[in-house]
Amino acid sequence: MEVKILTEHYDKDEYVTLKGYQKNGGYEIIKKALKMKPEEIIQLVKDSGLRGRGGAGFPTGMKWSFLPKNNEPRYLLCNADEGEPGTYKDRLMMERAPHQLIEGMVISAHAVQSKKSYIYIRGEYTYPYKVVEKAIREAYDAGFLGKNILGTGFDHDMDIYRGAGAYICGEETGMISSLEGLKGQPKLKPPFPAVQGYLRKPTIVNNVETLACVTYIVKDGPQVFRKNGTEKSPGTKLFSISGDLQKPGNYEVALGISLMDMIQMAGGLKPGRKLKAVIPGGSSAPVLTAEEAQKAKMDFDSLAAMGTMLGSGAVIVIDDSQCMVDILSVIMSFYHHESCGQCTPCREGTGWLDKVVRGIVSGQGRVQDIDLIETVAKNMMGRTICALSDAAAMPAISFVTKFRDEFEFFVREKKSKVKGDYKIKGLSDAQVHH
C-alpha cells in the first residue's frame, strides 16, 4: 500500500547529508531543471495537477501563474510552520531529507524566477531547524546555492527563519507578517501574495512537501506523476496518521486510497476496541463517523463531497474509549489559544465556543448550549480575514451534529457517556483549559 517516491531513501541515515543525498540520486534533476526555461517548468507542474500539500490543496501550477509579468523581485517562501494538530510529515522530511527540500526549492525558485527564498520553520522544531540550516550551508559549499548555480547563470540565496510559537503563522499571509518582523497576523486579501506579499513584493508560499514534489515532476514528467492518485488529486502524499492505532506514523501513499485501508496499513485499532470516529485532515476537518469512514476515500474531492476535507493529510483515529465532548473541548481550547485576535468574529467566537464546551465538560452545561455551539459556529464562518475562524467552527458543528447524543448526555447527567465522572488528577478544570 505504501508508495515510496518521496520517502524512498528516508530509512538511510546518510540521506541527511549532501553526499548521502547525492549518492542516492539527489541533486541530479536540478542540473536538468536549471537548463530549462522557467515557463517550461511551470507548465510541467500545471500539467501534473499537483495540489498544495499543506492543507488548502490549491493547484500549485495555477498559484505560480498568478505572478505578475514584470521585473519585480520575487520571493519563494517555504511554509514549514506545520502547526495543524495531527500533522508531522514535514518534520520527517526536514529531519531525514533536508536536501530533498532544498533541491525542490531551487528548482521551484528557478520556475518562479525568484532570487531569494526563506524557509519559515516553526520555533518548536529546534532539531529540524539545525538539520536544515546545516544542509543549507552544505548546499552553498557545493555550489547548489549562491551565485551562478552550476554555471547556469541562476543566482539564488536561501535562508531559514524561526517562528516563535503561533499556529496562525501557518496561514500564508500570517507567515509573511511574521517573517516581516510583525505579529503573525494574516493580511487582507486582496492583494494576494502572488501580487503583493512579503514586503509588498510578489511572493509564492508553498508547503514543504509541495516543493519537494516539484523535483519528481521535472524528473519523470507529469504523466508518471499522474500514475498514482486520482484524476483530480494526482500523485502520492505523506499522511500523518495518529490516534488509537497500533502503528501510528507518517506513510506515503497514492491519493485516493480508502480510509479503511489506510487504518489497516497503520496497524489497525487496538485489541478489543471499535472505531468511533476519524478526523481525516487535521483538527480543522469536520469529523467522520465510523459509518462515514467506511466509505471515505483519501483525496481532495471525495472528502470535500462528504462535507469534510483532506487538509494537511493528518488522520486522527478515534476509538470507542474516547469521549467526543472531551475531544471537542481540546480542539476548541486550541483555537481559542491560537486566534490571532485581529477580527472580531474569530477573536470572540473562538473564546465563546471554548467557554460553552468547557461549561458542558465541567458539568455546568445548559440544554440550549448544544444548539448555541452550532449557531455561534455557523456565524463565525465566511466573515473573517482568514480561515482560522472557519477552521474552529467546522469541527464544532460536525461534533455536535454527529455525536449529539454524547453532548446531550453530558448536559443531562453532568458526566461523560463514555468516561463517566472523569477528572484528570493533578489538573483542575481551569488548568485543563486555559
Binding site: 505579529k183 491560537e338 485576535g341 472580531t344 470572540e348 465566511g382 466573515r383
Partner: protein, 497 residues
C-alpha cells in the same frame, strides 16, 4: 471614473476607490468601526460587510475596490444578519459600563445596536476580565475591557503622530491595547485617539465624568490656539463650554488637531473671564457698566490727543482678534485719533516662526496674518521696539485670550506702569492687569462672528457660538460705541448680534 449602484442609487468614484469611500461620498449609512478616512485600512471589525450582486460571499466595503457596474447593497437580509452577529461578537465580552462610561450617547456600539441589534443576548459564560482605568499618559485614560480592538489608535500613533507609543499586545481575546510600561502616550496630538475611538476605551482626562453628551450642543469655529487655524467644533450647554474636537478640513488640518488646541475653551468659560469693566483710581477698584467705561475711554483718548497730540496715545494689538475688529479699531486710531502708535505684541518672538511640520506653530495667535494685513493697509509696521512708554499718556491694550501662551504678560504689565492711563481690553481676568486704570471685558472668539487668516494665508470665517459674558463687547462694537453717539450705536450693535 467607475460607476456603481449603492442601494439603488448610482454613484461615480475615483478609480481605485473602495466601496466604503463610495458610501462615505454619498453620505449613505453603513456600519463600521475600524475604518477611518484619515488612516490606513485594517479590515478587522468586519461590520461593513456588503452584498455585491453576483458574489456569493459578503465582502467588506473598506477593502473592496469599486468595479464599473457593481451593484452593491447593505440592506439585504444577509447583510443585516451578518451585521447583527458581528455586533453580537463585539458585545459578548464588552462590560456593561454605559452608566459610567463617557462615550454613552456617542458610542459606536450603542449606535449600531439600535440599527442592527435589538436581540436577546445568549452569552452566559463569564466575560473576559482586563485592566480598567489605566493611566496612559498626561491626557488619556484607557479601559481595556471596553476596547473593541479596532486598532484605530494604534494606526494613529504609527501613521499620523508617528510616535509609536500604542500597540496591541498578546493575542486572541486576551489582546489588549496599551503602551509599553515605560513609554506613556505622550505626544502633542494624543487626544485625537479619544476622538477616533468608537467606544469608551480611550477617554480624555480633561472631559472625563464632566458632562453627558446628550446635554451638549456643538458649534463650529476656528481654533485660536495658533496660526494654523484648525477647524473645530466646541461642545457646550448653558453652563459653559466643555470640550473641543477637530472638524475635517482638507486644506488646513485634515482630520486632526493638537492637544494645545483642546484647551482653548477654558479661557472662554465664566470662571476665567472678566465679567464687568473695572476702574482703578488710586488703588480703589470700582466695577462700572461696560458702556460707561467705553464712553469714558473714548473721551479720555479724544481729550489726551487734543491736549498732548496724537503720539501720546498708543495701541497694543495681539494677533488674537478678527479682521473686522482690526479694521475698525485701527481705522479709529489712525483716522479718528490720527495716531500711528500701534504696536504688535507677539507671544514669544524667538519661537514665533517655529513649525513642527504637522499642525503646531510657534505663533500662538489665530490671526497674525490678518493683523499684518490691516497694519500694512495703513502703512504701519508695529515693531515692538518702537514702543516708548515714557512718551505715552494713554495705552490701549487688546490682550490675548489665553495668557498661558503669553509668558511675558506680567513683565509687559509692569513695563506699562509708568504710563498714566492703561486700558486693558481683555476677555480673561488677569491680576496682572489690576495695576492698570481700566479693564474692559471683550468677547472671546466663541462669542462673535469674524474672520481669521491662518499661516497659509487662508481666510476662514466663523460664527458666534455662545454668549458667556453679557457685558463683553467685540472690538468692532467698542469702536462703534465711542465713535458715534452712544445710545444710537448701542442699539445698532445689539441689532447686529
Amino acid at each position: 471614473m467607475p460607476k456603481c449602484t449603492i442601494n439603488g442609487k448610482e454613484v461615480e468614484v475615483q478609480p481605485g476607490q473602495t466601496i466604503m469611500q463610495a458610501f462615505h461620498q454619498m453620505k449613505e449609512e453603513i456600519a463600521y468601526y475600524c475604518w477611518h478616512p484619515g488612516l490606513s485600512v485594517a479590515g478587522v471589525c468586519r461590520m461593513c460587510m456588503v452584498d455585491i450582486e453576483g458574489n456569493p460571499k459578503l465582502q467588506i466595503a473598506c477593502n473592496t475596490p469599486v468595479v464599473e457596474g457593481m451593484k452593491i447593497s447593505n440592506r439585504t437580509e444577509k447583510v443585516k444578519d451578518a451585521a447583527k452577529w458581528t455586533l453580537d461578537f463585539h458585545l459578548i465580552n464588552h462590560p456593561l459600563d454605559c452608566p459610567i462610561c463617557d462615550q454613552a450617547g456617542e458610542c459606536g456600539l450603542q449606535e449600531f445596536y439600535m440599527a442592527y441589534g435589538k436581540y436577546d443576548p445568549e452569552m452566559a459564560a463569564p466575560k473576559q476580565k482586563k485592566r480598567k482605568a489605566v493611566d496612559l499618559g498626561p491626557t488619556v485614560v484607557l479601559d481595556t475591557e471596553r476596547c473593541i480592538l479596532c486598532s484605530r489608535c494604534v494606526r494613529f500613533t504609527d501613521e499620523v503622530s508617528k510616535t509609536h507609543e500604542l500597540g496591541i499586545f498578546s493575542r486572541g481575546d486576551h489582546s489588549e491595547i496599551g503602551t509599553f510600561e515605560n513609554k506613556p502616550l505622550d505626544n502633542k496630538y494624543s487626544t485625537n485617539v479619544v476622538d477616533i475611538c468608537p467606544v469608551g476605551a480611550l477617554t480624555s482626562k480633561d472631559f472625563r465624568f464632566r458632562q453627558r453628551v446628550w446635554y451638549l450642543k456643538e458649534f463650529n469655529s476656528i481654533c485660536n490656539g495658533c496660526s494654523t487655524g484648525c477647524n473645530v467644533k466646541i461642545s457646550y450647554n448653558q453652563m459653559g463650554l466643555y470640550r473641543v474636537k477637530p472638524v475635517y478640513n482638507e486644506k488646513v488640518n485634515g482630520h486632526w488637531m493638537c492637544d494645545e488646541g483642546r484647551e482653548i475653551y477654558k479661557p472662554v468659560n465664566l470662571d476665567r473671564r472678566l465679567k464687568k469693566a473695572r476702574t482703578n483710581s488710586g488703588g480703589k477698584v470700582t466695577e462700572v457698566e461696560t458702556a460707561s467705561a467705553v464712553r469714558q475711554m473714548g473721551e479720555l483718548l479724544k481729550s489726551t490727543v487734543a491736549k498732548h497730540g496724537p503720539d501720546s496715545v498708543g495701541l497694543v494689538l495681539t494677533g488674537q482678534y478678527t479682521n473686522e475688529e482690526y479694521e475698525a479699531l485701527i481705522s479709529y486710531f489712525v483716522k479718528d485719533l490720527k495716531s500711528k502708535k500701534i504696536f504688535h505684541w507677539k507671544n514669544d518672538p524667538e519661537k514665533f516662526d517655529e513649525f513642527d511640520g504637522f499642525l503646531l506653530r510657534g505663533d500662538k495667535n489665530p490671526n497674525t496674518a490678518g493683523l499684518k494685513k490691516s497694519l500694512d493697509a495703513v502703512g504701519i509696521k508695529g515693531d515692538w521696539k518702537d514702543l516708548e512708554p515714557a512718551h505715552l499718556k494713554v495705552l490701549v491694550v487688546a490682550a490675548p485670550e489665553n495668557q498661558v501662551v503669553y509668558p511675558d504678560t506680567a513683565a509687559k504689565a509692569a513695563g506699562f506702569a509708568k504710563i498714566p492711563s492703561v486700558i486693558w481690553l481683555t476677555p480673561t481676568r488677569d491680576t496682572n492687569y489690576d495695576l492698570s486704570q481700566w479693564q474692559i471685558p471683550v468677547k472671546s472668539f466663541a462669542e462673535k462672528n469674524g474672520t481669521f487668516i491662518n499661516a497659509q494665508g487662508l481666510a476662514q470665517k466663523f460664527k458666534k457660538g455662545v454668549s458667556i459674558v453679557h457685558d463683553a463687547v467685540s472690538l468692532e462694537e467698542l469702536v462703534e460705541m465711542i465713535s458715534v453717539d452712544h445710545v444710537h450705536s448701542h442699539v445698532q450693535a445689539e441689532a447686529r448680534l
